[in-house]
Symmetry: C2
Subunit: 188 residues, 2 copies
DNA sequence: CGTTCATAGTGAATGACTTCATTATTACCA
DNA sequence: TGGTAATAATGAAGTCATTCACTATGAACG
């Protein structure tokens, strides 16, 4: 598990390893000591790095949890998203799904393929645009999503346990700021 | 682009569509009107949903940006992570990399495979444990990472433009709280 | 010692997602 | 009206990462 070969400066083996312990700074805020130690000697502004790293891991954690939970109900995170969207918004063209779910059309095609194979969604032609194909919940699909979505939301509440309502709003705000900035960067 | 078929209640077509506009609430905090509209009629606590959704998209955006930038230098986000880790911490066993980067051993094997094929990393036997294989930067690998990491950090500063130092720390803290909660949930 | 169990790395199979190219339909416009 | 451009969906191919099974080595303990 450990590597103490310290092939380089004495700094390095103080960095390497340790599981994933978090600590609190002087204001009681969590931070990642290893990350800080790794960047400290570089004499760079740590604020952005630490925040983005935390966002990265938080996103990954939430994703993993969602994926794992969806899997227990024979779905994936993406397919669950499609199912819920159709449940809430009614049937719609695949392209709209791509847009709403911030995904690519090709990806939606794959998700709908899978859902269709499982009998949860069906493709129906669009009356007004013969290029479009609308995805529609089947009875089975509706039944599936209705039977699980509440539990899904409960699951989400557990993840944010111990975070005040106001902090959640602030977290939301800051994350959306990042999204906006990133979108500018990505040119879109 | 739009779907106005309103096959169901009058609610639904007010929900469906729109690109990805964000608005500000009464306190100037960004939120996602579509998401709110979609969940509002369900009479559920929105705080967790909105925050986690924002975290999800923020993580995705940061990931995409990082991936795109790495690609410009012949790398992927994962390979870049390995390269930088080796640069900062010196050569180490693949298992340690997996641990530090919060990835799976199998994934690290793949990343190192790729990096080795590109001549940026080499595998060397571990003197003290013949099961282990250490990954080590080659001269080319060191040169590659040294030539780009500063630009990578600049890139990160741009993404957090307009967010105060204190807010970044708060963002970090809240995200790490989520990570901790998720880890509990994931049992690890 | 030798039996047993844990650990390190990897092969095989799988799934989600991307990009690029292609087909069919619609919109534009001169 | 006829021709060009944009749009909707999908096929093909590739990347990244995950799980499960397997091999080889090391550690623990009788």
């Amino acid at each position: 598990m450990k590597s103490f070969t310290m092939n380089d400066t004495d700094l390095k083996h103080t960095i390497s390893r340790i599981g994933w312990k978090l600590e609190q700074d002087e204001k009681g805020r969590l931070f990642h000591p290893d990350l800080r130690a790794m960047f400290d000697p570089l004499k760079v502004e740590l604020g952005a790095i630490e925040a983005l790293s935390a966002v990265h891991f938080a996103g990954r954690s939430v994703h993993l949890l969602q994926e794992r939970w969806a899997e227990q109900h024979g779905l994936s995170e993406g397919r669950l998203g499609v199912l819920f969207r159709l449940y809430r918004c009614g049937d719609m063209p695949l392209g709209d799904l791509a847009n709403d779910l911030d995904s690519t059309p090709r990806n939606i095609t794959g998700l709908v393929d899978h859902l269709e194979k499982d009998g949860l969604v069906e493709r129906v032609p669009d009356a007004t645009d013969r290029r479009s194909i609308r995805a529609r919940l089947t009875a089975a699909g509706r039944q599936r999503i209705e039977s699980i979505w509440r539990e899904g939301l409960e699951r989400q509440s557990e993840i944010v346990e111990g975070i005040s309502k106001d902090d959640l709003a602030q977290l939301r705000h800051l994350c959306l700021l990042l999204v906006e900035n990133a979108r500018k960067e990505l040119g879109k």
